[in-house]
């Protein structure tokens, strides 16, 4: 199974965690990204993620391999959602297990930070005022 997955269904965190259990590991770090009810002063009602799966899966796998290599952790796994999501749902989960905690924290942070900037995944927010907007795309707008 790929260490980085995309799913359109709710993520089962219990099953996710069990996959990373290892008797040689004394540390397990998990990051959950939740759907938040506000952004930049606007009330958010729901989110939509668009994912270009061929490159997101390949890029996500590479990020996890980099984290294992760089920090020497035992196991790492991540799942990112696609499609429409309600408030408080888990949009992304990253889990890392290792003999000791320090490298597990570092590797978990590395994976989520890199995933946010390197993978072809886009987030659209739907606001209370009826508008919807692709997040970050104002940054790519230019004057000419």
């Amino acid at each position: 199974m790929n260490a980085f997955e995309i799913t359109g269904k709710a993520i089962d965190l219990q099953i996710f965690r069990e996959r990373l259990l290892d008797l040689s590991c004394g540390a397990y770090v998990q990051f959950d990204g939740w759907v938040r009810d506000h952004n930049e002063g606007q009330k958010v009602l729901q989110l939509e993620y668009e994912v270009y799966e061929p490159l997101a899966l390949k890029g996500g796998q590479k990020i996890i391999e980099e984290a294992i290599e760089r920090f020497g952790v035992s196991h790492a796994h991540a799942i990112h959602r696609s499609g429409l999501m309600r408030l408080s749902e888990v949009a992304v989960v990253v889990g890392v297990s290792s003999p000791h905690r320090s490298e597990a924290f570092d590797a978990c942070r590395y994976i989520i930070d890199q995933a946010k900037v390197r993978l072809p995944i886009w987030k659209k927010e739907y606001y209370e005022n009826g508008h919807a907007e692709w997040v970050n795309c104002q940054r790519c707008a230019h004057s000419g």
Binding site: L55, K116, P120, W134, N136, C137, C140, H142
Partner: protein, 79 residues
């Protein structure tokens, strides 16, 4: 040369198309994006952050070949 161009997220909405066939003299993704922005005025206010050719992330000055599939990605926002 003929290319297949794919647009995602904000770009798809700006162009009104998920993909299109383009016959172009562009020799690089940068030239091709400029040409697409001339065709689709909605793209003109954007710059693209990443480009992939045949499912490989590549540079804006990469060489294009006949029948390449060129993917223009708006700034990403995962997580």
């Amino acid at each position: 040369m003929k290319f297949r161009v794919k647009y995602f997220a904000a770009f798809r909405e700006a162009t009104g198309a998920g993909s299109e066939e383009i016959d172009s003299r562009a020799t690089s993704p940068a030239e091709l994006f400029r040409e697409c922005a001339r065709r689709h005025h909605g793209l003109q206010r954007y710059s693209s952050s990443l480009v992939a050719v045949n499912d490989e992330i590549t540079g804006w000055d990469a060489e294009l070949n006949e029948n390449d599939e060129v993917l223009f990605f708006p700034p990403v926002a995962g997580g």
